[in-house]
Every structure is written in C-alpha cells, then in structure tokens.
C-alpha cells in the first residue's frame, strides 16, 4: 500500500538525525544532502543528533543509524521517518506496525547474496549458514531465498560463540562455502580471526556482508556503502516528493551495492574469481 502525503509543496523541510555526527553516519548524511540539493526543489535540510531536541516543523526525519531511529520514533509524533543504515531485523523489531516509518535497510537481500555466491563459486552445490540467536529469525527468509536463487542452504544454530567452530566443521561436510549473516554470536569482532582461520583450514570460503569482513578474511562480500545508501535515499525521497508526498510505511532493500573480493584468500584457497565489476554486472544482469 502506498500512502502519499503532500505536506508542503514549496519547501520541504528534511531533518537528518544522525546517531553520531561522524563516521559512516556523517558520510551517509553528507551523501544524502548532496544528492538532495542536486535535485529540483527548495530543500530545507537540517542536521540533528539524538541528544538534542528535534525540530518539530519538519516534513521528513531521516534517522541514520539505530540510535537515531529510536530517537526519531520517540519524537516524530506521526510525521514521516525514513530509517537509514539499520538492518532489517532491527528495524522490524523497533518499528513494526508504525506506518509513518519506512526504511532503506542496511543489509542486502538474501537472494542477492546467494546469487552472488553462485556467481563467484560456480561449483557451489550448497551453502552452509551458521545462524545465531539474532539471525535465526532469517531462517524462513533464507529458505525462500534459496529457492529463488537456486542455491541450497544448510543452516545450523549456534547459541554460544564456543560452538561456532565445531558448527562450521559440521557444515563443511556438505557445503562448499559459508554465508555469514549479521549476528553478534556468529560474527563478533573478537572471534573473527579464529573463525576465518578455521574456514581456511577447512578450505571453505566465506561470503560476508561488509568490506571490513573481507579485509578480515572473508572471500567476498556484498554490501551497500553509506554513501550509496545516502544517495539512494535522496533519490527515493525526491521521487516520492515529486509524486506528491513522502513515502510512508514502505521499506525495502537498497538497490545500490558494492562487492569486495579478497584476492589473497582466493589465492590461498586456489580460487579464481572474476573482478568485482564483472561480478556486479553479472549480478545486476541476473533476473
């Protein structure tokens, strides 16, 4: 259902509420503001942080980051809110049933991820996916995505960090690669190295969801950069405004994405992968 609300035709006021006025939040905000300014219309863009009172007379609040989303939800008073850089699961937990809040998710659609994995590893017959307490909610979505992408998956639950390595060993028996999904138990900073080292020893590549993870040892990852998120959000806002109002109650995965490949890992595992650009084009070209 698409709800359009035309609050102000002449000069829409947009407040960018940042979890922190720095880093990826600032990057995304800058990108968004820059893109929006380039669009027709007299955009009144304001910046805010959760520790200050939010201006009330805004047409749209763009909450960048989870903390910003929480603050925006508290203070919006039913006015439209767009969530940026927040994973789908988090967004669902915080904003379910709130129709004035929509989101451009931080994460990639699972189907896209599996497709990319297939592209990168043509011989892939099954992908092993360790799921933690948080990511287990994606199990159903994962089955759907597997069917859509034609890449069978096998999932194993991990309740504690200590179980992770044995879980991976188990999964490795019939999987040719691992898909890593965001979960504090599965992919926590302190255990990443041992995780990757273990997968090397198992000689199974890992596909992850961020550039730092690729640097840390994942074979490849697909993700949306903050700048891409900001840009895509700006287009989305502008298009909505052009169509007569801000989008409300509709959330989606980003269309823009980036791919990173760790060549060292590929070489170590004796894998030959196309370049990131080629992969991107192939992925975009897929139905």
């Amino acid at each position: 259902v698409l709800l359009l609300s035309r609050v102000a035709l002449a000069a829409p006021a947009v407040t960018l509420l940042l979890s922190q006025p720095s880093g990826i939040y600032q990057e995304a905000a800058d990108s968004l503001a820059r893109e929006l300014d380039a669009r027709p219309g007299d955009w009144k863009i304001g910046f805010a942080t959760p520790d200050k009172p939010l201006p009330l007379d805004v047409d749209l609040t763009v909450a960048i980051g989870t903390r910003a989303l929480e603050a925006a939800l508290d203070a919006s008073g039913g006015k439209p809110v767009l969530s940026l850089l927040v994973p789908k699961l988090t967004f669902d937990r915080l904003a379910s049933g709130k129709h004035h809040v929509s989101a451009l998710y931080l994460d990639q659609p699972l189907t896209r991820q599996l497709k990319l994995l297939k592209l990168a590893l043509p011989g892939l017959r099954q992908a092993g996916v360790p799921l933690g307490p948080t990511s287990r909610e994606l199990q159903f979505s994962l089955q759907q995505a597997a069917e859509e992408s034609g890449v069978p998956t096998r999932t194993t639950m991990v309740s504690k960090g200590l179980e992770l390595l044995s879980t991976l060993t188990g999964l490795a028996e019939d999987s040719q690669a691992f898909l890593l999904l965001p979960d504090p138990v599965v992919a926590q900073r302190g255990t990443l190295q041992s995780l990757f080292l273990h997968t090397y020893r198992l000689r199974k590549p890992v596909m992850a969801y961020s550039a730092p993870l690729v640097e840390s040892g994942a074979l490849l990852a697909i993700y949306t950069l903050p700048e891409q998120a900001g840009r895509e959000a700006a287009r989305w806002i502008a298009e909505s405004w052009t169509r007569g109002g801000f989008l409300l109650g509709m959330s989606r995965y980003p269309n823009l994405f980036s791919i990173s490949v760790n060549r060292s890992v590929a070489r170590s595992l004796d894998l030959r992968l196309p370049s990131e650009d080629v992969l991107s084009r192939q992925l975009e070209a897929m139905p």
Binding site: T169, E173, Q193, Y200, S264
Partner: protein, 629 residues
C-alpha cells in the same frame, strides 16, 4: 718456602683451582646451552611467527601481518622479521636489508652478525574430523615463508656478561677464601710461628725465654710447653756451666799465681845464689891471677894453673846461666858489623887446638875468604858453644869448621864425627838443661845450656839454624849468615898486645874488702895506680887526683849504687870520666837499668882478659876525649 706461605698456598691453590675449573666448565657449558637456546629460540620464534602469520597470509591482511612482525621483533635478540608471500612480495620489519636465499626450505643459516631462521607458513588441519575423512586438504602446502633474523652478537654479549659474572663470582670467592685462610688457617699457625721465633731466640743464646701457652690444638700446646721446658733446662744448664767455669777460672787463676810466684822465687833464688857465689868466685879469680907471677917457676905453678882452669870452667858455667837469663830478658842487642870470616874461624880454631890435640882429634878449618855482616861477639859465643859441644861429644875422628856461599848467604857449619843424636832427641836438644846422652858418664858434660844459648842467639840474629845428625856417624849444625860482598874498609881492629902494661889512675869502689883488694892488686900488676874505696863517702874522700877510669860495684851498702857513685864522681870533677860497673846481680830489671844508664857493665865473676880489654879501651877513649879540644 716459609711455612706461612705454604699454609697460605695450601689453602688458596685448591680453591683457586676449583674456582677456575668450575668457572671454565660453567662458562663453557653455559655457552653451549646459550648457543643451543638461541638457536631453539630463533627457530621457535620463526615457527611461532609462521603459525601466527597463517591467518594474515591467508586473509592477505598486511596490517595484521605487520603488527605480528612488530610483535616478533619485541622478542629478545630478534632484529629482523620478514614474511615472504607467494607472489614474492615481502612484508618486513626491523632490519631486513639482506639477501635471503630462495625461501623454499626450512632451516637456519648465518649471514654476518645475523642468524636467520626460516619457516614455512602452512595451512593447518581443519579439525578432529579430518582424522576420519580424507578430504582434499594438503597440510604441507606452503602459503608463505617467514624469516626471522636473530642478532648473533647477543650470544657474544651474553657470553661476555657470563664471563664477567663468573669472573666476579670467582674473585669474590677467592677474596673470601683468602679472608678465611687468613682468619682460620694462618691464625692457627700463629702459635707455631711463635714457637719458631722462640726457638730461634733460644738458639741465638737467649736461654730461659718463655712462650705463652695459648694454642687451641693440644699438640701445639704440648709443643709450646715443651719448648718452655727446654728453654728453662738450657737456662739452668747455662747457669750451672757458668758457675763451673767461674770456679775453674778462679782455680786456674790461683794456680797461675802460684806458678808465677814459684817462678819468681826460682829467679830470685838463682839471682841471689849466683850473686852470692859470684862474689867469692870473683875474688878467687883475682887472687889466682895475682899469684901467678909469684908462682912462676915454682912447683906449685902447675897447681895454680889447674885452679885457674877450674875457676875458668866455673866462670863459663856462671856466664852460661847469665847468658840465658839475659837473652830471655831481651836485653841483648846485636851490634852488627862486617867480619872477615876466614880469619875469625882460624883464630877460633887455634883456641880449641890444644883441647883437640889432647883428645887426639883433628880440627880443620875450610873457609872461603869472605866477609859477613854479623855481631862478632855473639857469633863467637855461638861457635864457641858449638865447638865445645863437638869436642865434648867426639871421641875419635875430627871436627871441621866450614864456611861457604850458599844461595846468596854464607853457610857456617860445624861438623863432627861424634856419637850423633838420635832422632827422638833432635827436636829437644835446643831446650835448656836438656841432655841427650845422660847415660854417658862424662864429667865434662856441662849443664846442657850450650845449645839453648846457641838457639837463642841464632834467633836473636835471625840466622836459620839446622841440625843434621846420625847416631854413631856424627853431627853437622849449620847457620846462614848474610854475606857482605865489598866491605868499605878493613875494620880489622889492631890487635892490642895483651901483655902491654896499662898506665893511668883507677878508682875501685866495692864494699867487699876481698874483692876490692884483689882487684886493686891485679890493676897494680897491670901497671896502674889504684885508689880503693868501700863506699861513696870513701870514694869522695880518697880522691886527690882525677882518676882516669872508675870501676864500681853496682850494689853498695846503705842503698847506694855504682850508678850513683859514677854520677857523683863525674859531677864532682865536672868532666866525663870513663866508668865501668861490675855487678853480680842477674835480675833482668837490674840489667835493663844498667843498660839504659849507658855504662859498660861486667858481670861477676869477671873474666880477666875481658876486664883488661875493657880497661884498655876505656883508657884509650878517655885520653882521646881529653885530648880533644
């Protein structure tokens, strides 16, 4: 080596040896361990780094590798750490500017001051299930290489530190050992050193020196006590000996005094006896001489001659005793002058001719006509004694008086074919009163003083005296005299006629009336005017005219002496009058005093020819001195 040094070395050397050996062993073994440790450490570091680098290499995480290498360099001694990736790129930390060999083998090597350890980075095994499933994992697959450079110097630095530490510990140990040796060992020796010191002092004569009995060891205590006892014994022994020596010395002193007194008594007795005998003998001689003209041609003349000869023998005897006394007193001084030896010997032989003829012996003189430097009177006395002896001891054969040159000197010899002297007697015949052949009953054997006088005179004149004799064959006695090659002039004195009358006035002073009268009578017979005086007073009174010569007895009554009389008369007339002293006193102090006074002295009993000769000389000298201006 001193005992203290020995003890010190005994304590120190084993310690030193042990310290050095242990230190050397310790250093040697530690160095070996150190080297092994460094190598193990290097290899372990490389292995560890390889393992740790596995993830970084696999993930291509250069930052992670970099921090890993940084971490490795914090290990002690690690100077370089390198990861060589399969594409030959390197991630290096430290000082890796070095040619690394082809990194395809595990190992270690040394390049310069760096020990290199290389280890491959391999992919480890996946998990326990791999034990059951043979998957495609190749565990030996090399992902990359790590090389670790360890400073080889650190071994040397550590070795130096180790050596230094060992040295310091050794030195400290030695210092402690020296301290302990000094404190314990040498302190223990102290009593021994004290004992040595004490014994040294005792041996140097410090008897009775004591030592504190302070040693801890019972043996040393015993030794100290024994040294004290020995020292004490020596002291008491010394005291005992000193006491004995003192008493012996005192005894000897006493005996010596006794002997001296006995000798003195003997001398006094001899002197007194000879003096008392001389007086009458002197008188008898003078009377016999004065009787001779009266007895001429009468039957009693022969008897008178015999009396005269007997008197002459007795005078000889007295003179011999006197000679020995005088020679022993050292008052005889030789008056040396050149002497024509041949003539001297012929004259002497003439005197003995009658005697030898009487015994049926031949007496010959064989002499070169040479001159010798000698005292004629003393030499005559020597030869006269020797000839007398020869005649006395020769029964048949003859006597030879010889003079010949021998090695630049003149050798005088008296040969005889007499009984000879057996070898056992030869060394002693020159002693006084020694008679070799006492068993022979020879009335004219004499007193045994002849050779004693000869030996004393020869010693006085410094003539070597030699005796060669064979019992039954004969005897030869030799004397060596200094020769005179060219005497300046003939000093042969004119032989004044013995029988020429003497003219002049003589004053005779003698307290013995017999002697005084006899002397007066004799002088008158010789043609002199004589004044007689018994003492000094009479002498002064009797002097009407100045006497030409004075004959004074030395010992006069009332403590007066002939010397005093001579000086009195000389001062009375105010001129030098020749004075001769006659004495029977044979004491050496008297003889010495008379000699010092410078007057001619005649000893009682006076030989008449000697008296006449002296008077003749005095009268001649007196005249010449008076006629001198």
């Amino acid at each position: 080596m001193k005992i203290r040094t020995r003890a010190f070395l005994l304590g120190l050397l084993p310690t030193l040896f042990l310290a050095l050996v242990l230190s050397a062993y310790h250093v040697y073994s530690r160095l070996g361990e150190l080297d092994a440790t460094v190598r193990q450490q290097g290899m372990a570091l490389a292995r560890h780094l390889a393992t740790a680098a596995e993830y970084g290499v696999l993930s291509g995480n250069r930052r992670a590798l970099g921090s890993l290498l940084d971490e490795a360099l914090r290990e002690p001694g690690a100077k370089s750490a390198v990861v060589i990736l399969p594409d030959r790129t390197r991630i290096a930390r430290g000082d890796p500017h070095i040619e690394l060999p082809a990194p395809h083998k595990l190992g270690q090597w040394q390049a310069g001051k760096r020990l290199w350890f290389m280890h491959p980075v391999v992919l480890g095994k996946g998990g326990e299930r791999d034990l059951f499933f043979d998957d495609t994992i190749s565990t030996s697959e090399t992902l990359a290489w790590v090389a670790v450079g360890i400073d080889a110097d650190q071994t040397r630095v550590l070795a130096r530190r180790l050596l230094l530490t060992s040295l310091v510990i050794t030195l400290l140990g030695l210092a402690l050992a020296i301290l302990l040796i000094n404190r314990l060992a040498l302190t223990g020796l102290q009593p021994l050193m004290e004992i040595i010191d004490t014994v040294r002092n005792v041996s140097a004569g410090d008897f009775g020196r004591r030592l504190r009995v302070s040693a801890h060891s019972p043996e040393l205590r015993q030794l100290q006590a024994m040294v004290n006892r020995m020292s004490e014994s020596l002291r008491s022994y010394q005291q005992d000996m000193e006491e004995r020596v003192r008493s012996m010395t005192a005894e000897l002193e006493f005996k010596k005094r006794e002997a001296e007194q006995a000798n003195l008594a003997k001398s006094k007795f001899l002197a007194a006896a000879s003096h008392d005998l001389r007086q009458p003998m002197h008188a008898i001689g003078l009377y016999v001489e004065s009787l001779k003209p009266q007895m001429q041609g009468r039957a009693a003349e022969e008897t008178l001659n015999k009396i005269e000869r007997s008197i002459a023998s007795m005078v000889e005897l007295f003179n011999a005793i006197l000679d020995v006394t005088k020679l022993d007193a050292g008052v005889v001084q030789p008056n040396v002058a050149p002497l024509r030896i041949r003539r001297f010997l012929l004259d002497l032989a003439d005197e003995f001719a009658a005697e030898t003829d009487h015994k049926g012996l031949s007496l010959r003189v064989r002499a070169a006509d040479v001159w010798a430097n000698t005292d004629e009177i003393l030499l005559e006395r020597i030869l006269r004694n020797l000839l007398s002896n020869a005649v006395r001891h020769t029964a048949k054969g003859g006597i030879l008086l010889a003079a010949r040159r021998c090695r630049g000197r003149l050798r005088l010899q008296v040969w005889d074919t007499g009984s000879g002297i057996s070898p056992e007697h030869q060394p002693r015949i020159f002693e006084e009163f020694y008679q070799a052949d006492t068993d022979k009953a020879d009335a004219r054997q004499g007193l045994g003083l002849g050779l004693a006088i000869v030996s004393r005179l020869a010693r006085l004149l410094a003539y070597p005296l030699q005796l060669h004799s064979q019992p039954g064959r004969g005897t030869v006695i030799s004397l060596d005299l200094p020769l005179v090659e060219n005497p300046a002039a003939s000093l042969d004195p004119a032989d004044a006629g013995d029988r020429a009358p003497l003219s002049g006035r003589a004053l005779v002073i003698d307290d013995d009336p017999l002697v005084r009268d006899a002397l007066g009578e004799l002088l008158r017979q010789w043609g002199m005017e004589v004044e007689l005086a018994a003492n000094l007073r009479q002498a002064r009174e009797s002097l009407g005219n100045v006497p030409d010569v004075v004959l004074a007895d030395y010992q006069l009554p009332n403590g007066e002496t002939g010397l005093m009389a001579a000086q009195d008369i000389r001062s009375g007339f105010g001129r030098v009058i020749p004075v001769a002293l006659i004495t029977g006193d044979t004491r050496t102090e008297t003889i010495r005093a008379l000699r010092l006074a410078g007057f001619p002295v005649l000893h009682k009993p006076v030989r008449v020819p000697q008296l006449r000769s002296l008077l003749a000389t005095m009268l001649r000298d007196g005249k010449s001195s008076r006629s001198a201006p």
